[in-house]
């Protein structure tokens, strides 16, 4: 029986081993709901790429090559860590959110050890699945190569591959977040969320991520919604006396009340239907007083389900393509009947074809909302609009003889939507910068208009403005950079459209190939802005951020010409129109972001030690 016993003992031993199961993994889960808690430690390393492979992957696509031309070859490899953290929602409710920590790697100097952190705040995204933490998922809005590209490749190439530890939240309400909505443009919440994401990321870094550590220098930058969030985070961190080395909000709508007022009064911007749907949905969820029923605000065409549309399942083009929101018609083309409002609108839309696109049928927002909002805007004017053309020429702003400060928001807004825009307007209370700030934008941005945003905020911070042009050593804390070098009244998009149409006509006449056509269009555009390029090499190289914006828009124009020519367009006038639309669509993103990010890197370089 000895052998039989041995068999059974072996079996028993096996079962005993089995009971031990998978054993310890060295990972831990923190169950605390305290905001800023890192939930899983260590976080998931979702991807790892060395500098050579990253450069090769970027070089494999046209968009990647353009990015490499601006960002330079990757100096460092990048380990991407996806992490989840505890945060709060817009009503201060407990929630989780997720983000990415991009850790530089490799043996090149400045790619390991103690490195500066660059906190990145992303722009308006319509898909809830948005996740900067998963670089291999090019179907994700954060990493897509469609629709002009995405932020993931830009920030990894511009910052992480050059030696910054990039920390970027996906924001509460996105990806795996437990919050069922995103507190869009709710400054306090967004700042808390970003600070919580930083706290958790620092916990993860302390635990050891790819050998890097935080050298204590903190930079914050973000574009569009992210520009607003960078500024809101900066305000909150200064208030909490948290150290910040420098910040660079780019193309942000800092002055929400003025932005809202300008839109309602007629200066409708290109992405307005999505932006307004988003902000109204968030404010209704958090404040609850925007409407009793969605049809109070939204036209019956779009009202169904609109409160929870964003962020959701659709990209911007899908939202428009499937008729969830109109492409541009924010408001009804039928006049409101409120005389001063209709007069203002008629004047603005007559002068601006872009603004005119904001009115149509079907439309998104009911006239009743415009009337009530405008009545409040007239009764409690945003003083800043006095400085925003063309409002200064109209009552009530024209009656301001000697207002104390044209940068200030309204004193007592009463209409709920406007009151909440005011509440989240970063001019609503006085505060001052304490470290270097770069505000970068383009003055013909068709999505986030320059004058009521960067323009007004520069006035808000007038005492801190540096008078040294970008590139020199600032003589004050705040540097403002307009990356758009065009000086015409009709804007750079029209300038490029005209140049492209002429180049296209010539190319047609000489039977040039599409490749030659594209080269001719680019050469014409670049030649028009020659002072921003170096022509000594085989191809013109931008020498400043303005040159980068021109190069990006010239690239868009060339692509439009080739695509439309292939689609049968032969009329130079039609081609010009297509180029106008194309350059308008890609002006705000990615063209301005890439140009501004290059400027941001230059601005941060003396403080971070990372090459410009």
């Amino acid at each position: 029986m000895r052998i039989v016993k041995t068999v059974f003992l072996t079996a028993l031993a096996a079962l005993a081993l089995a009971a031990c199961g998978g054993g310890s993994t060295g990972a831990s889960t923190n169950g605390s709901a305290q905001p800023g808690t890192l939930i899983y430690s260590p976080p998931l390393r979702s991807a790892s790429v060395n500098a050579t492979d990253f450069g090769a992957s970027l070089g494999a696509t046209a968009a990647g090559q353009q990015l490499l031309a601006v960002a330079g070859q990757p100096k460092c490899g990048i380990d991407f860590y996806y992490y989840q953290y505890q945060t709060v929602g817009g009503k201060n409710e407990q929630a989780t959110a997720s983000g990415v920590i991009m850790v530089p790697t490799g043996s090149t100097a400045g790619c390991s050890g103690a490195l500066p952190i660059l906190l990145y705040t992303h722009g308006t995204m319509t898909t809830r699945s948005y996740n900067l933490g998963n670089p291999s998922d090019t179907t994700n809005e954060a990493w897509t190569t469609a629709d002009g590209g995405s932020e993931g490749p830009i920030i990894s190439a511009m910052f992480a591959a050059q030696g910054y530890i990039v920390v970027a939240s996906n924001y509460a309400g996105y990806d795996s977040s437990t919050l069922p909505y995103h507190p869009y443009l709710i400054g306090d919440q967004q700042a808390k969320d970003v600070i919580n994401s930083l706290t958790a990321a620092r916990t993860a870094l302390k635990g050891g991520l790819s050998g890097a550590s935080d050298n204590g220098k903190l930079f914050i930058t973000g574009h569009s919604e992210g520009g607003y969030v960078t500024m809101a985070t900066y305000r909150a961190m200064l208030a909490a006396k948290m150290p910040v080395t420098a910040v660079a909000p780019t193309s942000g709508a800092f002055d929400l009340e003025a932005f809202g007022d300008a839109s309602v009064l007629g200066e409708v911007t290109l992405a307005s239907p999505i932006n307004f749907t988003f902000v109204i949905g968030a404010y209704q969820t958090v404040y609850g007083d925007i409407y009793a029923s969605p049809t109070d605000v939204f036209s019956a065409t779009y009202a169904t389900g609109i409160g929870s549309l964003l962020p959701g399942a659709y990209t911007g083009s899908q939202l428009i393509g499937t008729g969830k929101v109109p492409q541009t018609a924010l408001f009804s083309s039928t006049p409101t009947g409120l005389a001063p409002l209709d007069t203002l609108t008629a004047g603005i839309t007559a002068a601006s074809p872009l603004a005119a696109l904001g009115f149509g049928n079907p439309y998104l927002i009911n006239n009743s909302v415009r009337i009530a909002y405008a009545a409040d805007a007239f009764a409690n004017p945003d003083h800043g609009l006095h400085a925003v053309p063309p409002f200064g020429g109209f009552a009530p702003w024209s009656s301001f003889v000697s207002p104390p400060d044209f940068s200030v928001a309204a004193a007592t807004p009463s209409y709920p939507l406007r009151a909440h825009l005011h509440q989240n307007d970063l001019r609503a209370t006085a505060w001052a910068p304490a470290t270097p700030v770069l505000m970068c934008a383009g003055h013909d941005d068709p999505e986030v208009p320059y004058a009521p945003d960067t323009g007004l905020f520069s006035q808000f911070w007038a005492p801190y403005l540096s008078t040294v042009p970008f590139g020199g050593v600032p003589n004050n804390l705040v540097t403002v950079l307009d990356v758009d070098p065009d000086t015409t009244a009709s804007g750079i998009q029209q300038t490029i459209a005209t140049l492209a149409a002429t180049a296209f006509a010539t190319a047609l006449a000489t039977h040039a190939s599409p490749t030659q056509m594209a080269a001719d269009v680019q050469a014409a555009v670049i030649g028009n802005f020659a002072t921003h390029f170096n022509f000594t090499g085989p191809t013109p190289v931008p020498i400043d951020p303005q040159g980068l914006l021109v190069a990006a828009l010239a690239g868009v124009a060339a692509q439009v010409v080739v695509t439309e020519y292939a689609a049968g367009v032969t009329s130079p006038a039609t081609m010009g129109q297509e180029v106008l639309l194309g350059t308008s669509e890609f002006y705000h993103f990615p063209s301005t972001q890439v140009a501004c990010d290059a400027a941001v890197r230059g601005f941060f370089a003396p403080l971070s030690g990372v090459a410009p």
């Binding site: 041995t6 079996a11 998978g22 390393r45 979702s46 790892s48």
Partner: protein, 243 residues
């Protein structure tokens, strides 16, 4: 001790080598031999268990998982242990439980995931305890020294000691907890038994079983899954002692 007595008995009847060879040849020719020994109902076997896996796994699915990631396991050899109970002239029951083998898990798919090597990397190992109960039909009668048999039964497989090594952690993205569901599936066997002497048996068999398990990997709260069909074919050479 009874067992020792029987060993003593064996030693007491030495058989010249020539005779043994003759007997072997005769039995081979006839595949049936004169009943030389009394039937003992219990036999324990010890031998070599060579397991060849023909893994067919779904690509790993889940968040943060590039397409095309798959895995294989290396073949193993381990100690074969079995207990066989004679039920009648033609039927016997077998309970097999090899010493739990530990097999390496090999990554199959793209050469690299990002810059992390993937295809062909040993990313971890897993052990399993896989008892199999079989009912054999044994051909010929008890007098035959050579008796082929076929068996059908049930295999139960329990996985344990699952570990993802450093290369696996690099692929999965950190410390990873693996779980594999137990598998219960049919098993079949085709074997040949030779009984050279009373109490002693030698077997060679080919065995197959359906071993299919759902694998779940948890890395920092991220769950990835796949279903692995191991499709093992086991070849056994064993010696048994009957009592």
């Amino acid at each position: 001790m009874k067992t020792n007595n029987r060993f003593a008995q064996l030693r007491s009847v030495p058989m010249p080598l020539f005779q043994k060879t003759m007997a072997f040849g005769a039995c081979l020719a006839a595949l049936a031999c004169t009943p030389a020994f009394a039937q003992n109902n219990n036999t324990v076997f010890v031998g070599l268990y060579s397991v060849y896996y023909h893994v067919n796994a779904d690509d790993v699915s889940g968040p943060f998982t590039p397409p095309g990631l798959n895995a294989d396991v290396n073949n193993v050899e381990t100690l074969y242990l079995a207990y066989v109970r004679r039920l009648s002239t033609h039927f016997q029951a077998e309970l097999t439980a090899g010493v739990p083998p530990q097999t390496d898990t090999i990554a199959r798919g793209p050469a690299f995931v990002g810059s992390v090597p993937y295809n062909g990397q040993t990313i971890g190992h897993v052990s399993w305890f896989a008892p199999t109960a079989l009912l054999h039909y044994v051909f010929f009668d008890d007098s035959a020294r050579w008796r082929p048999y076929v068996g059908v039964g049930v295999n139960f497989t329990h996985f344990f000691d699952r570990e993802i090594n450093a290369a696996g952690q690099a692929v999965f993205g950190g410390p990873t907890r693996i779980s594999l569901t137990n598998s219960v599936g049919p098993a079949v066997s085709l074997g040949l038994r030779y009984e050279p002497q009373e109490h002693w048996k030698v077997i060679a068999s080919v065995n197959a079983a359906r071993v299919k398990s759902d694998l779940t990997a948890d890395t920092a709260g991220i769950t990835r899954r796949t279903t692995v069909d191991f499709r093992p074919i086991a070849i056994v050479f064993a010696m048994g002692y009957s009592f």
